[in-house]
Amino acid sequence: MCLAIPMKIESIEGQIGRASIPGGQYAARLDFLDNVKVGDYVLVHAGFAIEILDEAEALKTLEVLQEYERLSSEIPGRADSSGPA
């Protein structure tokens, strides 16, 4: 089961990050992340934050995805890891 939910860190106390999701908060373990800051979005799986969601990367991916709507007739060239050149 790889269900991992994005949660926003509201406060940090030692190894516990109090993270919010719509309608409530969850006390996530931060054992695997250094440099987590309040305000970060983390992916939480089985009670543990496994990664900080990179907002800049998410935006980049979205931009690329939205390009596909516009480039419907153009076939992408050699793709780098983010999408069409």
Binding site: P6, D31, L62, A79
Partner: protein
């Protein structure tokens, strides 16, 4: 952030991706792309991805469901543990309904055995503290996304001085299974959609050996419909260009090096072993067990677990019944609908094979998302 996370489900974006996919997949060739993650299996069924893609782009489902590949002997051992007065079992929900040779955990709970379903293994710690006279045993089944969480629980238990916390280890790792399937060759895999959250832990670099040694393109994908479609597109581009590289579609969550702390933890606490995958057989170096110095956390080191002898044709008369092709389904060699028992004899209420029991199993997912036209 959560507003724009929703954009990964945008239907217009998906249509744009699909147009490009159709152009990249001329109908004179069939493209067989395999995912190896139960959550991908479910997403693909839930969003009707197979119906959206052109017919010559086939999505295969591999052995990405840890519960589906947990062997019968493990379940029987878990049941034997549950029946002991001095044991309290802690498990993820999905294992509850898996049939053992003659019972299941959910049946045992109905008979009064102490079995607690948890969302996080960390919940085992207060249970261990509150029940010092019991051996609290975590059923440690899962892939790399979950393994660090279980190990961190053990580490915390160590730090807290708990002496009644144990694991029944059944952890498996994914890349060796991918290699096994490529070596077997039968599934004719053209490309891998790599598991998003496993990759958060192991890193996208973990698949480089597959791309290099077997010339199979690999793309790490997120779980939203547009993530999966973009990954399919990226695989098709590689195939068109004759490349076999590892690419990362899930850049917002996956780094090439993965999560170093989690990886260090797995390396510190575990060693790899050859392991038995239900329906498939032994896959070399695909299981993780506790290193000897941490052996005291393994319940096998303190208890001699008397499980029932595993029946060759196991289960309440159903499991392994003639006609069950879970093994083939798990290797991408057959689809659930190819199985004669599917939805007729084998259903979630009366499962025959493991693929129908777990909510992330291919057959359970296929059954749940049957369409009115089917």
């Amino acid at each position: 952030m959560k507003d724009f996370l929703a954009k990964f489900r945008d239907e217009r974006t998906a249509r744009g991706l699909l147009r490009n996919i159709r152009q990249l997949a001329p109908s004179d060739r069939v493209y067989r792309l395999m995912e190896v993650c139960g959550t991908h299996t479910v997403s693909i069924y839930r969003f009707g991805m197979r119906e959206l893609l052109p017919a010559n782009v086939e999505l295969l489902s591999g052995p990405g469901c840890p519960v589906c590949v947990t062997d019968l002997a493990y379940i029987d051992k878990a049941i034997a543990l549950a029946r002991r007065e001095d044991v309290l079992l802690v498990t993820f929900g999905d294992l509850m309904k898996v049939p053992g040779s003659s019972s299941s955990l959910i049946k045992e709970r109905g008979r009064g055995r102490r079995i607690k379903v948890v969302y996080s293994p960390i919940e085992a710690l207060p249970l261990a503290r509150a029940n010092p006279d019991k051996k609290v045993v975590i059923l440690a089944v899962g892939f790399e996304t979950t393994i660090p969480a279980v190990l961190a629980t053990v580490r915390q238990g160590q730090a807290d001085g708990l002496d009644n916390l144990f694991l029944l280890t059944g952890h498996k790792i994914i890349p060796p299974a991918m290699k096994f399937l490529l070596q077997a060759g039968a599934a004719r895999i053209d490309g891998f959609i790599c598991p998003g959250h496993v990759s958060t832990i192991i890193g996208s670099r973990a698949y480089e050996f597959l791309a290099k040694d077997y010339h199979v393109p690999c793309v790490v994908a997120g779980f939203e419909p547009t993530d999966i479609l973009q990954a399919v597109l990226m695989l098709l581009v590689q195939l068109r260009d004759g490349r076999s590289e590892v690419e990362n579609q899930y850049q917002r969550a996956v780094r090439p090096e993965g999560n170093p702390k989690a990886l260090a933890m797995m390396d510190r606490y575990c060693r790899t072993v050859d392991d038995h995958w239900r329906g498939i057989g032994i896959i070399p170096e695909s299981g993780l067990r506790l290193r000897d110095e941490f052996g005291r956390w393994d319940i096998n080191s303190v208890l001699d677990i008397q499980a029932e002898p595993t029946r060759a044709k196991a289960g309440p008369p159903r499991l392994g019944e003639a006609g069950c092709i879970c093994g083939q389904v798990l290797q991408g060699l057959a689809r659930p609908s190819d199985c004669k028992l599917f939805a007729k004899v084998c259903t979630p209420e009366e499962p025959v094979g493991a693929c129908m029991v777990s909510s992330e199993g291919s057959c359970a997912a296929a059954y749940k998302h049957r369409r009115l036209e089917d």
